[in-house]
């Protein structure tokens, strides 16, 4: 059965936000745009866009075989040219982050591959890639301990902390942060910084990002439930269709 691709737009202003300037760029996602992979997602955050796909659990090369857990591999491809050392670093960060979210011990002697293709980078590509990878893993149906949400944050040229800036706001930035939170206790899975900053700025950025991560978690929940409700609809016969639809509607009301 081919499931219809699903796309959803989310208004980030409407969620339970305390701080006034807590705004992420608009998040859009299309699930399963690719047909050959186990799970894929086209994820955009503002102008930044990535295409992620995952494959697994599949057969593993003998050199990577681990008898206790699955081997996780990430491939990150930049928009143009061959991957540079910076891209390798991004790749390692994404790999480690995804591995800590996955329940790898459930699939020993296998491998899980995550592929990420950068489509457009208008600031915050790392955070976007991690979020996209998480959605691909969720759609791919591999067991996870928790979901992860990455938020990008900078200290701009006036020493102000800006949440999820676009490339215009990021000109002349002093420092940049990528925070990845888990969905359970909102603790830090990954922290990746560059540039020099004060501890106070770090705390501000961390608090803002933590609050903003809830927007992304809500987005995951909404898009995944929409996706599965829709596939439920197409799978059912016409006679039961109306019945299911009412169920779907009531569920959506709850959300």
């Amino acid at each position: 059965m081919v499931t219809p691709p699903d796309s959803i737009t989310m208004d980030t202003q409407g969620s339970n936000v305390v701080l006034q300037d807590l705004k992420l760029r608009q998040i859009n996602c299309e699930l399963n745009p690719l047909t050959r992979s186990d799970g894929s997602a086209l994820f955009t955050q503002g102008g930044t866009c990535v295409l992620t796909s995952m494959l697994g659990p599949v057969e593993v090369k003998s050199q990577n075989l681990n008898i206790e857990k699955a081997h996780v591999e990430c491939i990150y491809r930049p928009k143009a040219g061959i991957p540079t050392i910076e891209d390798k670093l991004t790749e390692t960060v994404i790999r480690d982050t995804c591995e800590s979210a996955l329940l790898t011990m459930l699939h020993p002697r296998t491998a899980i591959f995550i592929q990420i293709q950068e489509l457009d980078d208008r600031c915050g590509i790392e955070a976007c890639a991690i979020n996209g990878a998480c959605l691909a893993l969720l759609i791919g149906g591999v067991p996870m301990k928790f979901t992860i949400a990455a938020v990008h944050c900078i200290v701009d040229k006036d020493d102000k902390v800006v949440l999820d800036p676009d490339h215009c706001e990021a000109i002349g930035k002093r420092a940049s942060f990528v925070f990845v939170f888990d969905s359970l206790d909102k603790n830090l899975v990954t922290v990746h910084t560059s540039g020099r900053f004060r501890m106070g700025q770090f705390n501000d950025a961390e608090c803002m990002s933590r609050a903003a991560s809830q927007i992304i978690f809500n987005f995951y929940r909404r898009i995944i439930s929409n996706f599965h409700n829709k596939s439920l609809l197409t799978a059912d016969s016409k006679a039961r269709n109306t019945e299911v639809e009412s169920v779907v509607k009531s569920e959506q009301m709850d959300i």
């Binding site: 050199q63 990577n64 050392i85 910076e86 390798k88 670093l89 390692t92 960060v93 790999r95 480690d96 982050t97 995804c98 591995e99 800590s100 939170f181 888990d182 359970l184 206790d185 603790n187 830090l188 899975v189 990954t190 922290v191 990746h192 910084t193 560059s194 540039g195 020099r196 900053f197 004060r198 501890m199 770090f202 705390n203 961390e206």
Partner: protein
């Protein structure tokens, strides 16, 4: 008997040690390993340093070449870090694929620490704007790695940079003639970068972990602190940590930074 126990149940063995508030090598949780720095040890490089943290042994040498700057940045020189982890550096055969990865990440971080965290200005490497700049090749060789490879590499790199002597070069714009003088000039370092590594095992923060501790702990993170600013915070995956643990580590890292800077200062005055 203890050896077999360690081999069969490595994690339980480690946990037994932690229950008695001691680590495998007899240190307490917040104790660092001894540091040894030997500066200007290589004759043929312009600045060099051999650094030891515990059993980790890292060598750093810097050579400089003259080159033409990029048209987009006519004032900026180049820094090219190059990390080589030799085959003897890692003990385990399983880490052979990891080997390449570690050196790539290190190269990336050393560039970031030096340039993005404003440790040195690339403009200081300029000889004549738009025509001639210095290109510094920072070669780091890992002779032995027993944890804290980040700390040791950054320390080696920074101490080599602080001893770096560049000859004074004059450039004649009309004839394009380059003249290398006999006098030497030191490169100015804005900040002496210090990175500290922490690992977490069963909610216990262990400072300066050894290779064994790093490999069985649930997460490892690196902190680069200078006075009240942070230049690097890198945690990649592992179990999630709370802000409390971060703050505790930052406090710890501030002390460590002071210790190492005073050590380096005493080294330089003795020279």
């Amino acid at each position: 008997m203890a050896e077999q126990h360690k081999l069969i149940y490595p994690i339980k063995h480690f946990r037994d040690f932690l229950e008695n508030e001691i680590r495998l090598d007899g240190r307490t949780f917040d104790k660092y390993r001894p540091i040894g720095v030997n500066i200007a040890s290589c004759q043929h490089s312009l600045g060099s340093s051999a650094t030891k943290i515990g059993n980790s042994n890292i060598l750093c040498g810097i050579r400089a070449e003259l080159s033409k700057p990029r048209a987009s940045k006519p004032l900026a020189g180049y820094i090219v870090p190059n990390v080589d982890m030799s085959f003897t550096a890692f003990s385990k055969a399983s880490s052979s694929c990891n080997n390449q990865n570690v050196s790539e990440i290190l190269e990336c971080f050393i560039y970031r620490i030096l340039y993005e965290s404003h440790c040195l200005k690339l403009e200081d490497l300029c000889i004549h704007p738009g025509k001639l700049v210095w290109c510094l090749y920072i070669d780091i060789i890992g002779l032995e790695v027993d944890g804290g490879v980040f700390d040791a590499s950054v320390l080696a790199c920074a101490s080599a940079l602080s001893t770096l002597n560049l000859p004074i070069v004059t450039y004649d714009e009309k004839s394009g003639k380059i003249e290398i003088g006999d006098e030497m000039k030191k490169l100015h370092l804005n900040i002496f970068p210090v990175v500290s590594t922490y690992s977490i095992f069963d909610n216990v923060v262990l400072v300066d972990p050894t290779y064994r501790e790093e490999s069985i702990s649930s997460t490892v993170f690196h902190l680069g602190v200078h006075e009240d600013t942070i230049g690097l915070f890198h945690k990649s995956g592992g179990v999630p940590i709370s802000v409390k643990e971060i703050q505790q580590s930052v406090k710890n890292a501030v002390h460590r930074e002071k210790e190492i800077t005073s050590l380096l200062n005493s080294l330089k005055t003795n020279q």
